[in-house]
Amino acid sequence: MAVIRDVLPAFELFQPTTIDDAVRLVDKYRDDYWVLAGGLDSMDWLKDRLRKPRSVIDLSRIPELVGIKEANGGIEIGAMTPLTAVVRHPLVRDRFGLLAEAAELVASPQIRNQGTIGGNVSQDTRCWYYRGGWNCYRAGGNICYADTPTAINREHAILDADRCVAVSPSDTAPALVALEAQMVLRSARGERVVDAEHYFVGPGVDITRMTVLEPGEILTSIRIPATWAGAQFYFEKVRDRQVWDFPLVNVASAIKFANGRIDGARLVVGAVAARPKRLASVEAAIVGKPRDEQTADMAGRMAVEGAVTLRHNGYKVPLMRNLVKRAIRGGPAAVTT
């Protein structure tokens, strides 16, 4: 367990100015480096001495990684673009208001000024046993401390758990999965593009990480295609305090209509599983139905099928059901300041 909890441990710092240089550095220090974006997840790991990388590669001086531009009717957002810039950008607000709403509900103003969109989708889980340095499954051990009879597990998963019951902490991730975003990854071997939905991995696939990012790979940008531009969006986040707190559950939906009926939908729930949970079967079931109470009700019930609760997180089942209902029904989200 960590003892020293302030000041960072010593490391060699690199501030490359091009993506190529950054890729060369992560390739060179492959087995012992840390990529620093906004630093708001990174700092905790380093201050707690739970990670002691020899080299820290700071992406903040790479202009190519910052900014939002139009691309084929959609947009492309540089990985190092701060969340505040995402919230304010006219293209995001006009076409993909869902993402602007989600990003606006992250943490606090200062954190949004510094935290990046790339970091927000690449951050590690906040399970406090794991973050406290306990040697659990995710940390390479052979027990889950959050899933024992006396565990404090109010924030943990109700779906798709596999030994580990930690959840995805990100607010922007469900919005990006709903919008069918794509993640652009670069390494010494070249570029690959991964659907947002498949960027996130659950414990069944790899219990030690939250995303498909490989050592030596950098997330360079996030592309949002025109597909859902101008659809009807709904985002809602429920948390304990209206600032700082991670979602207990959040929901993102994008719905298109034709002749008063649902013509297509994307529905994604966060903080209920280790990945943003896309509800594909619910999406299929509501197509062709009117947007009304009955459809919303059915969607809510379907959404939580198969939920398994722990001692303290049973409330997440009705919470998720109700948020899904609201995401289908539409209308203004509960007021948060």
């Binding site: 000041v7 490391f11 710092l13 690199f14 060369r24 708001l40 820290v56 103003p109 200062q110 300041t337």
Partner: protein, 204 residues
């Protein structure tokens, strides 16, 4: 601690002295490291330790370790102790400073990132020549906005940054603007009244 401290030395100056000595010792270690990184020729992007920071309008040449946070540099290298460290975890706002006019938590920001940027701390708000307080500072004095005031510099910096972007906020908007700052004495209503007064003074 007090017994060991030479007469006439405040505890704070004593600590500063110790830290300065530490900086000297580690900068000599640096001399032996400049040319190589892990025994290999310096790679593109490796940082130099001797840097220039622009703080409150002045260029300051200082030796900064790679792992130093801005809050540490400001307080313990530059003696700007108006910036407070409450949580050191991006969870309270006491350390808020402006970096290129935007409020940031300096406890969670590497000093090396601030190279080439304009840093403003609470010490830099008043007019350097006349000592005249900034509008937000004056609002705080007028309305006696704080109790113990540990959180005050952070609130003042957050509000100053927010008001640069939105000069005419409603009370609700300003509350949202400074929602990244906590007050342990918790009279948020009074704090907000003081900051609204600051906004008014800023508009003139």
């Amino acid at each position: 601690m007090t017994e060991d401290t030479p007469q006439g030395f405040s505890r704070r100056n004593f600590i500063k002295g110790v830290i300065a000595a530490g900086a000297v010792a580690s900068s000599s270690a640096y001399l032996f490291r400049t040319a190589t990184v892990h025994g290999q020729p310096s790679a593109a992007g490796a940082v130099e330790r001797l840097i220039t920071l622009t703080v409150n309008g002045q260029d300051r040449r200082i030796d900064v370790m790679p792992q130093e946070t801005l809050a540490m540099t400001l307080r313990y290298k530059l003696g700007l102790t108006g910036t407070k460290i409450g949580c050191d975890r991006a969870e309270c706002g006491a350390c808020t400073v402006l970096i290129d006019d935007v409020p940031h938590y300096s406890c969670s920001f590497l000093t090396h990132r601030a190279r080439g940027k304009k840093i403003v701390t609470i010490e830099g708000l008043a007019d350097a020549a006349t000592g005249k307080l900034s509008p937000v500072q004056q609002g705080v004095v007028d309305e006696q906005g704080f109790q113990c005031a540990f959180c005050m510099p952070g609130f003042v910096m957050a509000a100053t940054g927010y008001l640069k972007a939105n000069k005419n906020p409603t009370r609700q908007e300003l509350a949202h603007g400074v929602s990244g700052n906590l007050c342990r004495c918790q009279d948020y209503d009074k704090i907000l009244t003081a900051l609204m007064r600051g906004a008014e003074l800023m508009r003139g």
